[in-house]
């Protein structure tokens, strides 16, 4: 008997199934399980105020993200330059900034790179697929246009969020995921810069992932 | 008998072994309070212990034997009242559990449990009484027993009762919901862990500056009082029933006829 068979038969026995029911290969999925797996049945949702933008910004700031509100995406470049300047991050060299290919229609400075994270860039700029007011999270997915490593390697992560991408609850992101042709390999709900409290239970920012997260919230 | 007496609910007092052996005044105080609340009180002789020591040690057979004795001894009463959260928890929550495979005894245990109440909860929630015309001119802090708190949801009732005691100043301690380290056999099986827990509790009691500690469970009170007196702290320890019934003018728990409070102050 393979380990798989043994474990499955242990389970069947533990659940008091009759031997014929438990027989591998003829096991039929019960109707309620099959229905459940269609997905969509929500549980109790916590209250979230209707003003999603205000709620989002409050949640994000509470987890130490900073938020800049911009009328259109065209203002992003100016804001990025200003932000990095105010944080004292020098990005004058080629390779200092990597932008997700999905954002290539924005007129970034010439020397900004594109693609997955090289590992030596100081800043990444990515879009997201949604932002969740309930938790203050940005949701990013991995693919060729939005490589996942951009979310984790650089010290500074700048995310472009459109107000139209704002949803109330985490569960509101799921229909979006289900509508995709293929589920992305990595779906990240990112709620703040990287942190740890592993030394004497005191919070330090910038454990392995970014130590700075700046959100460009576009109102269009 | 008079009409009032005929209508009075008949309460069987489950004394608890710690009150029976250690501090009879709590039993008499409970009777007094129940009578003031308009009840007729009887104390059946066939009770011994609720059976917690056996139950918590995994000896289900002994627990069931004791449970059957107790259930039988209290047949016919309108209510069974218990001056202890942990013993009440045992009777109410765990007696039915013990008989989950015996339908007849399960039914009896459930019927029995439905008539059982911890003392403070009975007075306030069932009899609707919270003022016993008591007086206790001291600052007091209150210890909630874990079983009373968590198994039976008892916390507000004692506060309501103390609210109406003239002269009593309640000073809540921090972390009232943290265990004092008694835990029945735990305190003698793991004495050093228990000592740490009771020392932490004593520190919180001291922090309030209260001159007295009240509670509803003799086990907890013996434990905390024992540590207080080893540390020569003057805090006096009583069961709340004694204070409420105006019977807290004798020696406190752990105090003798000779004993002078460590501070030398008069009581």
């Amino acid at each position: 008997m393979s380990a798989r068979d043994k474990v499955l038969s242990n389970i069947a026995e533990a659940l008091g199934r009759s031997p014929s029911e438990a027989q591998l290969g003829v096991r039929e999925m019960p109707r309620d399980v099959a229905n459940r797996l269609q997905g969509g049945k929500r549980h109790t949702l916590p209250y979230v105020a209707d003003d999603l933008v205000a709620t989002l910004i409050t949640s994000m700031e509470s987890v130490l993200m900073t938020v800049a509100r911009l009328p259109t995406i065209e203002q992003c470049v100016e804001e990025v330059v200003a932000y990095l300047g105010s944080e004292g991050v020098d990005v004058s060299q080629a390779g200092d900034v990597t932008v997700a290919p999905a954002l290539d229609r924005v007129q970034w400075p010439e020397h900004y790179g594109q693609g997955p994270a090289s590992g030596v860039e100081k800043v990444s700029i990515t879009p997201c697929i949604a932002a969740v007011a309930e938790t203050g999270s940005v949701v990013t997915v991995s693919d060729g246009q939005t490589p996942a490593t951009l979310n984790f390697l650089p010290e500074t992560h700048i995310i472009v969020v459109r107000e139209s991408q704002l949803v109330k609850h985490v569960d509101d992101v799921f229909p979006l995921l289900r509508s995709m042709d293929v589920m992305p390999r990595a779906v990240n709900f990112i709620t703040g810069p990287s942190r740890t409290a592993d030394i004497e239970q005191t919070l330090e920012i910038g454990a392995h992932g970014p130590r700075r997260m700046h959100v460009l919230l576009i109102s269009d | 008998m008079s009409r009032a007496e005929a209508q009075a609910p008949h309460v069987g007092l489950f004394v608890t072994c710690l009150v029976d052996l250690h501090r009879p005044s709590v039993g008499f105080a409970a009777i007094r309070l129940l009578e003031l609340a308009g009840c007729l009180v009887t104390v059946p002789e066939l009770q011994t212990c609720c059976g917690q020591p056996a139950f918590n040690s995994g000896d289900d057979d002994t627990s069931r034997h004791i449970a059957r004795n107790t259930i039988t001894a209290f047949e016919g009463f309108d209510y069974i009242v218990v001056p202890s959260g942990s013993c009440a928890g045992m009777l109410i929550k765990h007696y039915p559990e013990l008989f989950k495979d015996e339908p007849q005894w399960l039914a009896k245990a459930e019927q029995f449990a439905s008539r059982c109440h911890e003392l403070s909860s009975f007075l306030v929630d069932v009899r609707g009484m919270s003022d016993f015309d008591a007086r206790f001119d001291k600052s007091v802090t209150y210890h909630d027993s874990c079983s009373g708190l968590r198994e039976l949801g008892i916390k507000k009732q004692a506060r309501k009762l103390m609210d109406n005691v003239a002269g009593l100043e309640l000073r809540e301690m921090e972390d009232t919901d943290v265990c004092c380290g008694f835990g029945g056999t735990f305190c003698v099986k793991f004495p050093d862990i228990s000592e740490r827990m009771v020392s932490d509790k004593v520190a919180l009691v001291k922090q309030t500056g209260a001159s007295a500690l009240l509670g509803g469970d003799m086990g907890c009170l013996l434990n905390i009082s024992g540590r207080l007196s080893r540390l020569q702290e003057p805090t006096q320890v009583y069961h709340f029933a004694e204070v409420l019934a105006g019977m807290a003018d004798g020696s406190a728990i752990g105090e003798g006829t000779d004993s002078v409070p460590a501070s030398g102050a008069t009581r």
Binding site: G39, R42, T44, T191 | L21, H22, P53, G58, P191
Partner: protein, 487 residues
């Protein structure tokens, strides 16, 4: 991990004398406890969400095989491999084989409790491969060659100074020659050293918080981002996970995630909550080439079959440990194995044998604070009593405990005998103790009287004796119960 749970009592006694430990554990009150309370207070729907979670998980357990098979078929459809391990040793063999096939020299690891059960790092090392823990707390104790003492904060028992010492000793090889004393500097140092390890690792191994049957994804929750770096960078990704972690859908994951971070650290959401699946797609420009999931039983089906099934709802948040006053006094190492505190005392006897951990279920006052805060409503005191039942039946309690209980039981079952013996005992003790009101010392009461006085019985007799005397001659309403025995 080798079990040291037999020596719980000795370990506990030693731990109680450790001032560093006392200080470290003292921080839990405002830390994990205070923050959790604050976070929960902001969610009026907390009890409903908790109830939803309990019901959903019970449903899963009743259909565990179906959900595991559904998860497996999705993983395979996405190009991943699913392996089943009955025992921890089997899991290790499978993982070492994968690493060897990948010609791995180094392996980065995210924190995995089921990996600790299996002593996975040791197995990897024995195969000549270097495992590197990437969660900062796990990294610290890996340097110290110690076991984790808390399931969320493995290095909770370490002071800043001890961490400085460890880095000073072990990071010289990376060019660190000064002794860093600043917390931020130490975190930075770990960041830069581990960054290299992330990049050069051949294999990345993580645990999983949940497995989603609907999509074939696993959920990985971290604050540091180390789980994602471990999963995204190496060529080969392995997930080791207990079979009880499967849940049906994305919405079910969302329900549990609302409880997880709040219960564990008091955050409303952890920093990185990632849903991951499978190897890289053709259009991905990063991600692993190979993806493996190792499903581990290790006594879980045993719990499923018996009185301990509810323990399988546990998702290892650590709330019970944080709120347990016994854990708070002795810390995690005293428990002697992977899992400390209330959930550890339930799980350890199952996974390592009750004969190897007979004290654990008894090292508890049954105060119930753990069950109150458990997000999955696991009745921990009830499960601990079940173990006590087993230790009683198997005579695993100490002789003195057994005799004491037997004698007490013989008396308590017999009201007449109880009355007569207790009246004698009380009379004697009351007389001895009336003046002082307490005993500093008493034969047979050594465990109590070491650090406490024993209050003397009020006396002069028992309540029942006094009551009987007081009602003699009173009106019928105050009569004794008419069924009194002829004593």
């Amino acid at each position: 991990m080798q079990s040291q749970s037999r020596s719980f009592k000795t370990n506990a006694s030693t731990a109680l004398l450790d001032d560093n430990l006392k200080q470290a554990l003292g921080k839990v009150k405002d830390g994990f406890i205070g923050k959790r309370a604050a976070a929960v207070a902001l969610v009026p729907e907390w009890q409903q969400i908790r109830n939803d979670a309990r019901l959903l998980k019970n449903h899963v357990l009743e259909n565990l095989d179906h959900y595991l098979l559904a998860y497996e078929s999705k993983v395979i459809a996405h190009g991943g491999h699913v392996h089943w391990a009955q025992t921890s040793a089997d899991a290790n063999d499978i993982i070492v084989d994968i690493c060897k096939s990948a010609n791995a020299k180094t392996v980065t690891k995210g924190k995995s409790m089921v990996g600790e059960e299996a002593n996975l790092n040791e197995a990897i090392e024995k195969a000549g491969i270097q495992p590197i823990e990437t969660d900062l707390g796990e990294y610290i104790i890996q340097l110290a060659k110690e076991a984790p003492s808390h399931i969320i904060a493995p290095a909770i028992h370490k002071t800043l100074e001890q961490v400085s010492d460890l880095f000073h000793e072990h990071h010289a090889q990376y060019g660190l020659h000064e002794r860093l004393v600043d917390r931020a500097a130490l975190v930075n140092e770990a960041r830069s050293v581990l960054r290299e390890k992330f990049r050069t690792a051949d294999v990345g191994i993580t645990g999983a918080n949940f497995l989603i049957a609907e999509t074939g994804q696993h959920v990985l929750v971290t604050n540091e981002g180390n789980g994602d770096l471990t999963s995204n960078l190496p060529r080969v990704q392995i997930v080791i996970v207990g079979i009880e972690k499967v849940i049906p859908t994305l919405e079910d994951a969302s329900c549990l995630l609302r409880l997880l971070a709040r219960s564990a650290t008091g955050q409303h959401y952890s920093n990185y909550t990632s849903l991951m699946s499978g190897p890289a797609h053709t259009e991905d420009t990063d991600g692993p080439e190979q993806f493996h999931v190792v499903l581990v039983d290790n006594h879980r089906t045993e719990m499923l079959a018996g009185e301990l099934r509810e323990m399988l709802r546990c998702f290892r948040c650590g709330a019970c440990l944080n709120h347990c006053p016994v854990y708070g006094a002795v810390g995690g190492h005293a428990y002697g194995w992977v899992y400390p505190g209330p959930m550890g005392s339930v799980v350890t006897p199952v996974m390592t044998g009750i004969e190897n951990s007979p004290d654990l279920p008894h090292a508890c006052t049954l105060n119930g604070r753990c069950a109150e805060v458990c997000p999955m409503s696991i009745p921990l005191p009830k499960l601990l009593r079940e173990h006590r039942r087993q230790t009683f039946i198997k005579s695993l309690q100490t002789p003195s405990a057994r005799y004491g209980l037997a004698i007490w039981a013989a008396i308590a079952k017999r009201p007449a005998l109880y009355r007569s013996l207790t009246s004698i005992g009380v009379r004697v003790l009351a007389r001895m103790g009336t003046r002082q009101g307490r005993f500093r010392r008493l034969p047979m009461a050594g465990a109590w009287t070491r650090e406490r006085d024993l209050p003397a019985p009020q006396g002069p007799s028992t309540f029942m004796q006094q009551y009987r005397a007081s009602v003699r001659g009173k009106s019928p309403e105050h009569r004794l119960d008419s069924r009194q025995s002829g004593s």
